[in-house]
């Protein structure tokens, strides 16, 4: 809690919000560069960074890879127009600068001269047009496709009515114009997603569906070997001018095994970072031992993730169509206990937005742990004798579902656990009137409140299946606030609208915000530059070794 308070008081207002506001007020025209590294030791060139993953990355094709793990490796190989700096702020990548038209619909980017793909060809504006059209191509079915639909002409292109997207133009080799159908304050963030990373058309044509195994980009590294399910090797891209991100000669990623094996290998010195797979970065059973170890505790990096875990209640299904029952569930859950069960690897959550998110509201009114109040609310809603509900959760050794079950039992709710595999859980909770209540989680695609509130609580987004509003929550007042915030030109007013919407959502209690996990990186003493990034997490291209 101390760390959380620290972040709330210092990091959020002082850094993230400041940088974010700076971007939105002045950043529509930017020539900023990344802040210099804060390390006092001079980086050394050379060496191979040794990592391990439990399973292969799903794809090294930016049109197809969209999970957290793939993204970290895509950023070794490819670049986009903009990228994240040391924090959540955006800085130029292949664009040197950009400006936004007065109607806030058209961005004009100027490309960095001399940028080359790893096949030797210069990167030109037409490559961006091609790459984003490829992302929008229905035949590709790119996971990030929906984010780019706001480009003018994208729906017509997807429907096969036009051969090109009208809003993507390359008037000169070094100039790119992107016209939106309507102003969108988050569009620059969307340009950091894999679907906006640039690929050369001739290489995609040459390798077809197998482009993932023969990636060609302009990033600081190239893929030299990929034995599926065994090993991936990356080497410095000789054509990349980014010498400040090419300290390592190579990166070797062994594929297979679980977190326990990886930690053992790390402790034997065979891996340079214990776990790069996913949250939390250190296996939970070993966490206390590692954290208290004199050998390792100073080599742990920690960052609050832009993700949050919830107990979602389907507001269309009884008994959760009753506000008092939902409020009772909120009062019933002991969140401090959850944090203890997670060995302090997460912070308690009051609201929907993670602490790292612009618009995080420290004054949010939420429901404290109060079992007596929960029982009273249940009695008022006609469930004085108790009730039985089905709680869907993932099959894993997490202690969370059992703890929720216990807390609910204390107030008279008999929650029967229904543990299922992750794909099944996802499918069921996104299906209308299927899962009465379930554990759920969301992590940011980019640091903007819309990525949580609009996606998960906008009633206008409710669909019969594949619905990410897993509470099927529909409040017209919230929908209006979200619509107003989506196009609001004033950044502070926009955040205010999101805060209003979040307060109404929390009061309506369609879910219980449970906790917000931290991400950890445990590294060897000879590995430097590990600092976890609030959006991207691991940035291997910035690491260096001194052994």
């Amino acid at each position: 809690m101390k760390v959380l308070s620290f972040l709330r008081t210092l990091v959020f207002p002082g850094t993230i919000l400041g940088l974010w506001l700076l971007l939105l007020t002045t950043g529509q025209s930017a020539t900023a560069s990344s802040p210099a590294a804060t390390s006092t030791v001079q980086p050394r060139r050379g060496g191979t960074l040794r990592l391990a993953l439990p399973a292969d990355v799903s794809s090294l094709d930016p049109a197809r890879g969209f999970d957290t793990i793939s993204f970290q490796f895509l950023l070794l190989l490819y670049q986009g127009l903009v990228e994240y700096g040391d924090g959540a702020e955006l800085v130029p990548a292949l664009a040197t600068d950009w400006h936004l038209s007065t109607d806030r619909r058209t961005y004009t980017f100027h490309l960095r001269p001399g940028a080359r793909f790893s096949n030797g060809r210069a990167v030109v504006a037409a490559d961006f047009v091609y790459s984003m059209e490829r992302t929008l191509d229905p035949k590709i079915a790119a996971p990030t496709e929906s984010y780019f639909e706001e480009i003018a002409g994208a729906p017509e292109f997807r429907a096969g009515k036009t051969p090109h997207v009208r809003g993507l133009r390359a008037p000169a080799p070094e100039t790119l114009e992107i016209e939106l159908a309507a102003p969108d304050p988050t569009f620059l963030f969307i340009l950091t997603l894999p679907g906006a990373l640039v690929v050369p058309q001739e290489a995609v044509a040459q390798f077809g569906a197998n482009f993932t195994a023969h990636p060609v980009g302009s990033g600081p590294y190239i893929l030299t070997e990929w034995q599926r399910g065994t090993v991936m090797r990356f080497a410095r891209n000789p054509l990349s001018p980014q010498t400040n991100r090419q300290h390592l000669d190579a990166i070797e990623v062994r594929v297979g095994g679980d977190r326990t094996l990886h930690l053992m290998m790390f402790e034997q010195g065979e891996l340079d970072i214990a776990e790069v797979d996913d949250f939390p970065g250190i296996p939970i059973p070993d966490f206390l031992r590692i954290e208290q170890s004199p050998r390792w505790h100073l080599l742990i990096e920690r960052i609050p993730t832009g993700s949050a875990n919830y107990l979602s209640m389907n507001t269309e299904m009884p008994p959760f169509d009753n506000l008092k029952v939902r409020q009772a569930v909120n009062y019933a859950i002991n969140k401090e206990k959850l944090i203890r069960l997670l060995h302090g690897m997460a912070a308690t959550a009051a609201g929907i937005l993670p602490v790292t998110m612009p618009g995080f509201n420290t004054n949010l009114q939420s429901y404290p742990y109060d079992p007596a109040k929960a029982r009273q609310l249940l009695a008022e809603s006609g469930f004085a004798g108790g009730l039985t509900v089905e709680l869907w959760c993932e099959v894993d050794p997490s202690p969370i579902p059992a703890s929720l079950q216990y807390d609910l039992k204390q107030v008279g709710i008999n929650a029967q656990l229904n543990p299922v595999t992750f794909p099944t859980l996802l499918h069921s909770q996104e299906q209308r009137k299927t899962a009465q209540c379930c554990t759920s989680a969301w992590s940011q695609d980019y640091p903007d409140p819309s990525d949580f509130l609009d996606v998960m609580f906008n009633g206008n987004r409710i669909t019969e299946s594949g619905c990410q509003n897993t509470s099927f929550y529909n409040n017209p007042q919230v929908n209006q606030l979200l619509a107003a915030a989506a196009t609001c030109p004033d950044p502070s007013q926009r955040l205010h609208l999101y805060q209003q919407a979040e307060q109404i959502i929390v009061t309506d209690a369609p879910c219980v915000p449970l906790y917000q996990p931290y991400s950890y990186a445990l590294h060897q003493p000879w590995v430097h530059g590990v600092a976890l990034h609030p959006v991207v997490y691991f940035r291997f291209e910035r690491m260096w070794l001194d052994r």
Binding site: A142, L261, V420
Partner: protein, 307 residues
């Protein structure tokens, strides 16, 4: 002879078709949208719809099954929905690791089980026999994943005698193969023991003793050969069905074999890969049946003549 072979071939095809049918139907009975697996948790409903169309996920089940069979008939096992890799390629690249691990394990457990089984039969009811029985019972009861993790932790991590994970050379297979062999050695030692006890009491062994042959010669030349006939049958089936044990061992030791592929495909809900690994396993069982039949004939000439 030809008629019998054709009959066996027909039965094998039916077995494989039945396996394919059951696996396909069970996979489709599992709740969960594979389109969501392919596109990720955040894909829009439009993208999900496109994937449904691309992989014919909305077609009637029987139609999809026949589509799959047609694909199989053309030697195409399909592509992974998650990695887009050809399933056949995934199986072929992982086969050498699984084969090497299995072969090493079989050599280890037979090399241990044969002398143990023979000697415990020879010295029946001795302390050696009884203690072997106790150890055999313990190894039979051990869960594969636990044994593998314990060997990895103690012999690899704590004592540093073996590499603990990943495959770089054949030496890296010693500990995983030992873990796999330990699971079987006790059972085989007891099996050989029981057969040997029967054989050692048979008249032709009494006759050999009466002729003055040495006990070692009787035990390992005359008795063991007959005692091994039923063992060969079970061994063939066990080797074919070894994937069950290999699953755990490969995963614990991070070996890039078919077992790891199978486990990952189940967790990813990746139907083409699940189908591929199940069919591979079924083909191994069917093939092993053939091999066992052949070996039977070689070991016991009476069976050959009966055929």
């Amino acid at each position: 002879m030809l008629h019998r072979l054709l009959r066996r071939l027909g039965l094998s095809v039916v077995t494989l078709l039945g396996t394919a049918f059951l696996t396909f139907m069970l996979l489709n009975a599992v709740p969960g949208d594979v389109a969501r697996v392919i596109a990720g948790a955040k894909a829009s409903p439009e993208v999900i719809k496109e994937i449904h169309a691309k992989y014919h996920l909305d077609d009637p089940l029987w139609q999809r099954f026949f589509l799959y069979l047609n694909q199989l008939a053309h030697g195409d096992l399909g592509h992974s929905y998650v990695t887009d890799q050809s399933v056949a390629e995934a199986l072929i690249t992982r086969l050498p690791t699984t084969a090497a691990l299995s072969a090493l394990a079989v050599v280890m457990w037979i090399a241990l089980a044969v002398p143990l089984g023979a000697l415990t039969a020879r010295f029946r009811d001795s302390w050696f026999d009884r203690s072997t029985l106790v150890v055999a019972t313990i190894t039979l009861s051990l869960p594969a994943f636990w044994l593998a993790r314990m060997l990895q932790y103690w012999l690899g991590y704590q004592l540093g005698w073996f590499p603990i994970g990943f495959f770089r050379s054949l030496g890296d297979l010693l500990l995983p193969a030992a873990a796999l062999a330990i699971l079987f050695v006790g059972y085989y030692a007891r099996l050989i023991h029981t057969n040997m006890v029967d054989v050692l009491e048979s008249p032709y062994i009494q006759a050999a003793r009466a002729k003055g042959l040495s006990e070692t010669r009787i035990l390992f030349k005359h008795a063991l050969r007959n005692a091994m006939i039923p063992v060969i049958t079970i061994l063939g089936m066990d080797v074919a069905g070894l994937l069950g044990g290999v699953l755990f061992i490969e995963n614990v030791f991070a070996l890039p074999g078919i077992g790891t592929l199978a486990v990952q495909s189940v967790f990813n809900l990746d139907p083409p890969v699940i189908m591929g690994t199940v069919l591979f396993s079924a083909t191994m069982v069917v093939g092993a049946n053939w091999v066992v039949d052949l070996l039977y004939g070689l070991i016991d000439p009476r069976i050959k003549s009966a055929v």
